[in-house]
Amino acid sequence: MKLFEYEAKNILAKYGIPTPNGGLATNAIQAREAATKLKPPFVVKAQVLVAGRGKAGGILFADSIVDAEKATEKLLSMQIKGIPVRNVWIEEKVQIKRELYFGITTDRFNQSYVAIASSVGGMEIEETAAEVPEKIIKFPINPQHGFRSFHARQIARKMGYAGSQLSELGRIFERLYCVGMDYDAELIEMNPLVETADGKFVAADARIIIDDNALFRHQEYKKRLLEGESELSPQEIEAMKNDLAYVKLDGDIGVIGNGAGLVMATLDTIQYYGGKPANFLDVGGGAPAEKIATALKIVLSDPKVKALFINILGGITRCDEVAKGILEAEEKIGATKPMVIRLVGTNEAEGKRILTEAGIHVLESMEEAAQRAVEISRHEGGK
C-alpha cells in the first residue's frame, strides 16, 4: 500500500527526521490557513500516488499566500494521469545545495533488506543505477544485527561527508531504518534528501510503501485503503474485500483463473493470439461457488468487457464448485456477456456435466480457449 507524501512526511517528522514545515489543504481556505503558518516561498504539491507527478504539472511554486491559494485551486481542479487531485501539501521551499538519495528496500537474492544511498538524488533510483552506477551505494542489512549507527556513518562517509554533517546524516539514515521496520515498509525512501544551502539535511520528498501482507499490523492504513481515500478502482476495492486478487487492465476480455502464475500466463496467451485482457483476477486456491460468483460479478461490472474467459486448473479448486459458481452468477446478474470456459482437473467430469446441461460449452485446452475468446471479442467489438 502506497502512502501519500504527507502521510510519509508526518511519520518521518514523528521520528525526528527533518522535513520541510508544511500543511495539508483540500480547498483554498485551508491553503491560506496552512500558508499563514509557514515562511514563503512555498511549494504546493498535489497528493496523488501516481509516478511522474512533477512532470505532469502536479508541483507548483508560490511566492505569496495568495499565490499558494491560486496554486491550490489549480491543482485541485486537475487530474493527474486520470486521478483527480483531492489534497495538496503546502510546504516551505528548501534552499538546495545538493540532492541526495537514501532508501531501504528488499533484496531478494540476499533474502534481506538493503539500504541504498546515492550522492545523486532527485531522479528515480533505477535511472541513477542505469546512468551512474558508480554513484550507488548498496548495503545489505543483516536482520539479526540490524542497521546500526556505525553502518549509517560508514554510508555517510562514502557519500563524501565528514564531521558533524556525517553524524547528522547517519542519524537520519538510522531513523529512516527504524521507520521502515516499524511500518513494515517494502520500500521507504527520501528522494531527494536535500543538503540545504546552510549545510543541513531535509527530506524534501518521501515515499513509503507498506507491505500489503503486513497491513494486519497497521489497521489504520488498511481502513484508509478500503474505506477512505485511495486510488483503487471500485472493482479493486470490491475484490480486496472479497479476498480476490484483481488488477484492472485496459483491454476487453475479462479473465478469471486460479493461481497467479496461471492467470498471468492466460493474459499472455490472450495477447499472443492478438487479444487484449481487461483484467487479472485470481480466485486463489479452493474457491467455493460463492467466491466464483463474486469474481464474475466484479469482472462483468467493468463496462469495457466484451467477452469472458474462465481458465481453471483444478487442484485444490474443484471444477464442480466453479461450475456452480458460474451458474449462480448467471442467475443473479444474467448472462450478460459471452463466456469461454476451460475447466480441467479435480471433479472435472461433474463440472462439465453441470455446465453442459445448462447449455454452456466447456473446452479443455487453454490455448484453444484463448483463441476462441479473442475471436469472440473481435466479433463483439464489430457490433
Binding site: G259, M264, A265, M366
Partner: protein, 298 residues
Amino acid sequence: MKEANKKLGIIIGKNTRAIVQGITGTQGSFHTELMREYGTKIVAGVTPGKGGTQIQGVPVYDTVEEAKEKHPANTSIIFVPAPFAADAALEALENGIKTVVIITEHIPIRDAVNVMAYAKDANATIIGPNTPGIITPRESKLGIMPAHVFKPGNIGMVSRSGTLTYEIAAGLTRKNLGQSTCLGLGGDPITGLNFIDALKMFEKDLQTKAIVLIGEIGGNLEELAAEYVAKDKYPKPVVAFIAGRSAPPGKRMGHAGAIVIGKAGTAESKIEKFKNAGVKVAEKPSDVAELLIKLVSV
C-alpha cells in the same frame, strides 16, 4: 534406473519424516490425508492447544519440541495462518528441523527475512513461503499439488507459481516426459530457495536430465539464474517459461513477488537474459514440452 539405491530427485525422499504444523486446520488436515495417501511419512502434527488429540491417526502435540521428542522428525510442513507462520517456522528451526516447507501465503516480508536469516545460521533449507511445496513423483510429496498431473521421470522442475506448474507438468506428462522432482520456490519476494539453488541441486541429481524453469515478473532471480547458466556452462539443458509478458508496471499480479517496478523485473528482461544464455524460452505453456523433446531424448 540403473542405480536403484540412489536417492531419487532432490531435497525429499524415502528418509523424509515430516511433522505438519497447523495440522488441525482445514487445509492442514485435508492435505495431511493426501500426502499420506501418496506415501509421505507424516509422523506427527502440531497445533498449540490441540495436543493429545489425533487427526487421521496422526498424533497431535502442542509444541514442535514435544513432537520431536517422541518422533524422529527431520522435516516440517507449515499450514499455519500468516500472522503466526514465521513463529511456527522459527519453532521448527530452533528444534532442529532441517527442511521446512512453508505453504502459508501472505506472510509479511519482515517476518520472512527473519526466518531466512535464522535458517542460514542453522544450515537448514526453507521452501516457500507461498509455495505449493515439493514432489518427487510416486515417492514423496510435501505440499498441496494435485498428484495426478505428475509422473516419475527425468525432468526437474522449479517454479515460482503453483497452478502454472501443474499446467506445464500436465503437458509434460501427456507427452510422456516424467519428472524427477518439482520444486515450488514460492510466489513471495523473499523465499528460502532461489533458481540458482535449484539448478545446483538438479545438476548433482543423477535422475535429472533436463530442467524446466518457470519464472514470472518481479525481482531479478531469473536474470541471475540466466547469468549462472551462461557463466558456469551449466551441463544440463534448461527450458524456461516466463509469465507476465502482458503485466503493466507497478501492479502486483496476484503473487506478492510478481510486480514490475519502474523498468525492473519485466518479462522481457528475463526472456532476453535466458535467450542470451542459450536457454530456450517457451512462448506458451504448451510449448515447453515441444522444446524439451527437441533438446533431450529421455
